[in-house]
Amino acid sequence: MFYCQQRGMNPEEAVALIVNGFCRDVLQKLPMEFAVEAQKLVGISLEGSVG
């Protein structure tokens, strides 16, 4: 978090980036059809959830 903020991201942007990355890391290990669906869900649930 601190690292991302030191590079200019506000707390909400920093959390979104880290969580998205973490999820992507996990989702890449899933079968393709799951991964596409799950990435959409992550995108939706992150919007406006942090702040």
Binding site: Y3, C4, R7, G8, A14, N20, G21, C23, D25
Partner: protein, 250 residues
Amino acid sequence: MSLVVIDDLHVSVDGKEILKGISIEIKHGEVHAIMGPNGTGKSTLSYTISGRNGYEVTKGSILVNGKNILDMDVHERSLMGIFHAFQYPIEIPGVTTSNFLKSTINARRRYQGLEDIDAVEFLKLINEKMKLLNMDPDIIKRPLNVAFSGGEKKRAEILQMSVLEPIFGILDETDSGLDIDALKIVSGGINSLINDTRCFLLITHYQRLLNYVIPDYVHVLIDGCIVETGDKSLPDTLEAEGYSRFELKA
């Protein structure tokens, strides 16, 4: 007016006073180095400037470009031009170096009221900066700092610094873990950024970085106090005599 004015800075961590009244003024275009043995407060100083939690300023002030930064959030300090190159850069799984760089550039552009950077312009900028640092172009497809070698991590820090173009760069032990070739390349990257619109604070144990990035002033930090300030010849003396000669004074 100096670009950076640190005045009588006292900082405590977990209730213990680590910095005991540091004063440093850095003018536009200057490079200052801070040297000292382990555990004397060098990293505390850099974290205090960038605003990490847990570093409590009990007295004194830090002005950057005339503004008191101590009331500002971490990202606000970054956006006004403070860049802290970390001794141990953080790994960010799942976020490619390219994506991370784009996020940092866009955070800055939004702050300046600009549109997000377009893909072509972004690639052009990154490729140009990476070439300067002799970096493997494929590195931007890999997650930031994940499984990077020590040298790649430090180069990635300098790459970020060169795209964000800060007014005040703090380089915390950027030379540690670099072989001599990487040290020369990283130093070249730092030197290419030195100009009259910005200033730098180099934190280092060793003299070797200062052979390539020549400081205007060198401060010796021992037990939370600056015990001596000199010019670029001071590190030679330190190298020859060690820090022991200060221990009587401190």
